[in-house]
Symmetry: C2
Subunit: 333 residues, 2 copies
């Protein structure tokens, strides 16, 4: 049955029945004019939103409806990780053609709800708009951080170490593999990183409580570009050591099979959704150890904060690498 | 200069410069991974979002870029009014073609920011996506309500009076006038109601503190349809008295000139963004007086809550009126 046959009220009722309403900190969930959520004492509200547009951010031949919903939520929650905040609630706006199957939209919303729950948040509302044009999702994530503990992009100081979580380039490798093959098939590990990115919310909350962590950002536009945001807002320069960049064996294998350079994926690929942060260099080793022990995440020192401005990528032999592009710009064609 | 020439970073910088960053309760505003806002002690977070899609919700020949941004925010804040909440922060997601003029997008964002400020909120962040297809806005509104004081759709009881703020049908009259004329011109009063709807945030906050107010909703889909939501979620029926509906002289005049029935606009037009609420019948007169005195808003008793289900519209002579349509369904073609 199509959405136009089910109708808006029927669709929202099915979503409400599948997801439930209030409970816990959620006083009012789906089905009223707005959601109402209890605020923990002594904490600040953290708010962000992230959109996903068919053709621009995803293709239906690569992602199932459930994955489309889940991925949009995971991407939005990554911004949370970068602030050191704990997500509490998610809203989903869905612009969808009335000619679509209602089950497609229901499964998409359920995928979004499940992704939210996997990171401690609840889907508490949103909006549906029937319209032709690309399937468009906008995810709002709301949550909390102890007052004064939020991790900002500003705050990195000269002499700080630059660290990154996980591995870089896998998502770009996955996307390149999908583009090369046209459909999903081989390269499952890197494709999974593209389809189900992992927002580093546990690590982010840990870093927010950790002395010596000075500034953070999540890598959505590509390492060089996002490091550039950190450098600009902190009024410093950043030097990245190419050989230090953590590349997964799967990323290297995909690059070899596709005859592409994994370093370029790591530098400019984007959508890694790893955390890039600056920390007191004397505490870097301790932070690496803490991240592994408390959050189960491998963190690597990949460079340092220097005087000046901009981002420089160098090899051990001192040669400078010029990234092929400056990463993802929303307004590039 | 077009957005693709300015680039994402350049566009966001221009927005940040125009709107400013942190200050007051906003600890972190535009320009970081997420916004951070102080939570008032003893209050709950209220969250909602509202989308506006070109062709579906607005046309560029009728609204200037500033009005497009302002209208989207005003519509989102109406949901706040219906919960009795005070808005604090707004996020704006903008899906826009890279071929658009950058000034158009800048003026749109500024229009959104000014509308937020007019109702005590700040534009603290959002998202831009470059994409072909219809210009799409999604506005997130976040704010606070004292614990336990939120106005829900459920809670109306048999014997309650049904009240509505302002006048009904003006927005639909404005839209009909625009459609009839093709361009803006005459009918300025009703067209203004369509272009610059007034979210009843002051009245909503007043009602939330007011004993005897049982349930509320804002009229976005049309009186009959939204009264239906209130009735369903409260498990009651609603009777509306046709002659009691508050119609403005401008709405009646537009109807006469266009040879249309103003009552149908009032019943099913939608986008009035007035508050519809149920209250203890014995306190209704007092609430009407309070709304006028404290919020400067005229409130009218238009019906009552009865046993049963659904919404019935009757004339004084007892004849039942069947609305021509059940209002606005997102998935209707």
């Amino acid at each position: 049955m199509r959405l136009r046959d089910v109708g808006e009220v029927g669709f929202l009722r099915s979503v409400q029945e599948a997801l439930g309403g209030s409970g816990g900190a959620v006083r009012v969930g789906i089905g009223d004019d707005a959601a109402v959520i209890e605020c923990p004492a002594g904490e600040c509200l953290v708010l962000t939103c992230d959109a996903a547009v068919e053709g621009r951010h995803f293709r239906r031949e690569w992602l199932s409806p459930s994955e489309i919903g889940g991925r949009a939520v995971r991407c939005a929650l990554s911004d949370f990780a970068a602030m050191g905040a704990r997500p509490a609630a998610v809203l989903l706006t869905l612009v969808v053609s009335p000619a679509e199957e209602a089950t497609m939209a229901q499964v998409l919303v359920k995928g979004a709800a499940q992704a939210a729950e996997a990171y401690g948040a609840r889907l508490v509302g949103g909006e549906t708009v029937g319209n032709q044009g690309p399937l468009t999702l906008d995810v709002v994530a709301a949550g909390f951080v102890p007052v004064g503990r939020e991790l900002r992009r500003s705050g990195a100081g000269v002499g700080d170490a630059l660290l990154v979580s996980g591995t870089l380039g896998d998502s770009a490798a996955g996307l390149a593999a999908l583009e090369a093959m046209g459909v999903r098939g081989d390269f499952e590990a890197v494709i999974a990183r593209y389809i189900r990115p992992e927002p580093r919310t546990s690590l982010g909350a840990l870093l927010a409580e950790c002395e010596g962590v000075r500034a953070a950002i999540d890598i959505s536009d590509g390492l060089v570009r996002d490091a550039g945001h950190l450098a600009e807002q902190s009024g410093v320069g950043i030097v990245v050591l190419a050989e230090a960049l953590p590349l997964s064996p799967e990323c290297r294998a995909a690059a070899e099979r596709l005859s592409l350079d994994p370093l370029q994926w790591a530098l400019a690929g984007g959508e890694d959704f790893e955390l890039l942060f600056a920390a007191d260099a004397e505490r870097a080793a301790e932070i690496v150890e803490l991240a592994q022990r408390e959050a189960g995440v491998t963190v690597t020192v990949i460079g340092e904060v220097v005087e000046g401005r901009g981002v420089t990528v160098v090899r051990e032999d001192g040669a400078e690498i010029v990234p092929p592009s400056i990463g993802w710009d929303q307004f590039a064609d």
